[in-house]
Amino acid sequence: MLKKNKKRKKTNQEQIKPELESSRRQFLYRSTGSFVVIGAAFSAWPFVNSLAPAKDVLADAKTEVDLSKIKRGESVTVQWRGRPVFVRHRTEKEILEAEQVKDSTLVNPQKDSERVINSEWLIVVGVCTHLGCIPLGQKKADFKGDYGGWFCPCHGSHYDTSGRVRKGPAPDNLKVPPYEFLERNKIVIG
């Protein structure tokens, strides 16, 4: 077999200057191949992108909350983008606790002032940053964890009165959603 191939190669060489020929051919093969790969990669995009949130899902993305009915020390849960948002009207004591924590004791250091617009109101997404359960602590009778904020019953993460993780497997603080005050007692989330 090998011998045969060698022979054939030789005759080829004599006939059509294979070096030039093969490099031209190789260039054509490779550039065609590259275009096919690049083209296939681009045409995959609409398929992948169709899985992302659709326009109607995105359009549902704003929620208004009337704060006037929430008394001090109370919390309400509102729904935003299909998930719960905790709105807590914090007491003086809770605000003080949240502000006086030393950074070194926090898993993910963040000042309380970075997490609120008006320090009376704490607004966080009520989804545990570990694996997405909803922490307890919205009702008066709920166990609020060792730091007076929230406690996730799934895998035991504790959050403080600023929604920061203090203990347990959660890697991050409860997320603060984008929101703004429309009036003194009205916010819009999203």
């Binding site: 949130p53 659709a54 899902v57 299909g82 719960p84 035991g156 497997p169 890697p171």
Partner: protein, 397 residues
């Protein structure tokens, strides 16, 4: 030649179906010493057909929409003729599928069925196991009860541990900002599609099996052995007997204990604003769930959980001891039973809340699980001596 044979020959010379069935279902040379642990391959094949057939008729009654999914399942249970039977066969079938596939896998582990020349056969088997896990996970979401919803939430959130793109990937999986209608809809499509992918991989698994031929309790190379017998009638009849025993037990559960493997919480409709106080996955995921929870770091926990399954892919290169069967490997045999016990311990830890001593037992069991593959098997490959004076002593290839 009779007319019938003429027709058969005419077809067979153009499409060799008859030759195929003769070679692979009748004359296929099989070791004569296979024990009952070799029944589970064909049992799994029958279960796959049972699941596809019950799934097809259930799909004709089910509605994949968050407002109607739960009620359509209740309608199947109450109003559809024999709907209760079809659904209980399908839901218990999932559990029995895992019972059978785990026995089948541990059979391979004990008798060294992953060793040369069966590495690809083994890898295809692990691939089927992974596909089955994905299929059952998305399928469990469909009834849209509390456990469906929160199981789906917790498992999809595992991907948020991926560095940099984690949240974007999870949003892409959900098609929204939480598990919601788009998620349910695509999980339904996947649950319909994947069984047919499994069917295709099972076929390739069998191609690989018929190339390397069956392993056996002694680990003798059956391509060279003269102690082979044709598959039919010897193993067809033995497989039928196995079906009888297995499905007798299966239908005890279908008819008398249909919710034995289920969670009562899944008869509460999904509520995205209330997490059940104790989320547990289906029993067949418990050992992996225990591994996830025994690691305090989120990313490492997720990696180890997936790693616990994926490490099976490289098993042929972790255990390169020349002897296949544990029958002739006295030390490996001890560790095999310890490993099996370890999997049960992990399962038990996974079903309990992650507090107190469960955490420490879970951590110890997790360490042993990985040590078995990464430390013990390579060491045994180097140092373990073969024992030939067992009861079943014969020539070892």
């Amino acid at each position: 030649m009779e007319r019938k044979d003429k027709l058969v020959n005419w077809i067979d010379s153009r499409l060799p179906v008859f030759t195929f069935f003769r070679d692979h279902l009748r004359d296929y040379q099989t070791p004569k010493n296979l024990n009952y642990f070799w029944n589970f391959g064909s049992i799994l094949g029958v279960l796959l057909v049972v699941m596809i057939v019950t799934g097809l008729v259930l799909a004709m009654q089910y509605t994949p929409h968050v407002d109607m999914a739960f009620e359509s399942v209740e309608r199947i249970m109450r109003d559809v003729n024999y709907g209760w039977l079809l659904r209980y066969i399908h839901s218990n079938g999932a559990s029995f599928f895992f019972i059978a596939i785990y026995i089948h896998t541990f059979r391979g582990l004990y008798y060294g069925s992953y060793k040369s020349p069966r590495e690809v056969l083994w890898i295809l088997g692990v691939l089927i196991l992974v596909l089955l896990m994905v299929t059952s996970f998305v399928g469990y979401t469909l009834p849209w009860g509390q456990m469906s919803f929160w199981g789906a939430t917790v498992i999809t959130n595992l991907f948020s541990a991926i560095p940099f793109f984690g949240d974007e990937i999870v949003t892409l999986i959900w098609g929204g900002y939480a598990v919601d209608n788009p998620t349910l809809n695509r999980f339904y499509v996947l649950h319909f599609l994947l069984p047919f992918v499994i069917l295709a991989v099972v076929f390739i698994h069998l191609v690989a099996l018929h190339k390397a031929k069956s392993n056996n309790p002694l680990g003798i190379d059956s391509n060279k052995s003269k102690d082979n017998i044709p598959f039919h009638p010897y193993y067809t009849i033995k497989d039928y007997f196995g079906f009888g025993v297995f499905f007798l037990i299966f239908f005890v559960f279908v008819f008398f204990l249909p919710n034995f493997f289920g969670e009562p919480d899944n008869y509460i409709p999904a509520n995205p604003l209330v997490t059940p106080s104790h989320i547990v996955p289906e029993w067949y995921f418990l050992p992996f769930y225990a591994i996830l929870r025994s690691v305090p770091d989120k990313l490492i926990g997720v990696l180890l959980m997936f790693g616990a399954v994926f490490i099976l892919f490289v098993l042929p290169w972790l255990d390169k001891h020349p002897v296949k069967s544990a029958t002739f490997r006295p030390v490996y045999k001890q560790f095999f039973w310890l490993f099996l016990l370890d999997c049960f311990i992990l399962g038990w830890v996974g079903s309990n809340p992650p507090t107190g001593h469960y955490i420490y037992i879970g951590r110890a069991a997790t360490i042993f699980y990985f040590a078995f593959f990464i430390v013990i098997l390579p060491l045994l490959t180097k140092f373990e001596k073969v024992q030939l004076d067992s009861k079943e002593n014969r020539k070892v290839d």
